[in-house]
């Protein structure tokens, strides 16, 4: 089976993981901000 995307290795994998972490942090921040806004 030919993968649609090339496998992420080395620096590419590191950047991808970092990007995912930043997206997760931003998602948490947005959700937490909404909780504070509606709970206050």
């Amino acid at each position: 089976m030919t993968p649609f995307l090339p496998p992420l290795t080395g620096h590419a994998a590191g950047w991808a993981v970092l990007a995912l972490k930043i997206v997760a942090a931003m998602g948490f921040m947005g959700a937490a901000n909404l909780v504070i806004l509606y709970a206050s």
Binding site: K21, I22, A24, A25, F28, M29, A32, N33, I36, L37, Y38, S40
Partner: protein
């Protein structure tokens, strides 16, 4: 890691004191006030935003691996969150979500609370604490 004690996030004394003050104000003080008080009904909560909310945010960043150590909140971490919270709570909330009110004094309270919290978290006495020893004071 800077020369300061390890930050304890959800067990930080300032966080716990601020949370206790917020709960006390919300659950007991405000319901027992006979007249509207701008400070207790509004500004106090705004002053507590940074000391109560920021440690929880930083804890999540630490668990995600985005925060490299357990140093006390850095000035730019406080400033970065204020740069997000000020427009979010005083523009996006009131204008877009029709929630909360856009009061310029609230922004001042956010900034003042953040500045005081940062000063306490980074007070010189912390530099006497041993880094990495969980706040054990050296003889």
């Amino acid at each position: 890691m800077p020369l300061s004690g390890r930050f304890r996030y959800g067990r930080d004394p300032l966080f716990l004191a601020g949370l206790a003050l917020y709960v006390f104000n919300r659950a007991w003080l405000k319901p027992h006030l006979h007249h509207y008080s701008p400070f207790f009904h509004g500004h106090l909560d705004d002053c507590l935003l940074v000391p109560v909310a920021l440690p929880l945010y930083l804890f999540v960043y630490r668990r995600l691996g985005l925060r490299p150590d357990d140093a006390p909140p850095r000035w730019w971490e406080v400033a970065l969150h204020l740069a997000v919270w000020c427009p979010f709570f005083k523009w996006f909330g009131p204008v877009v979500l029709h929630r909360s009110q856009a009061d310029p004094w609230d922004l001042l309270c956010y900034i003042a609370g953040g500045a005081v919290a940062w000063a306490i978290w980074n007070r010189p006495a912390r530099r006497e604490l041993a880094p990495g020893l969980g706040g054990v004071r050296l003889p």
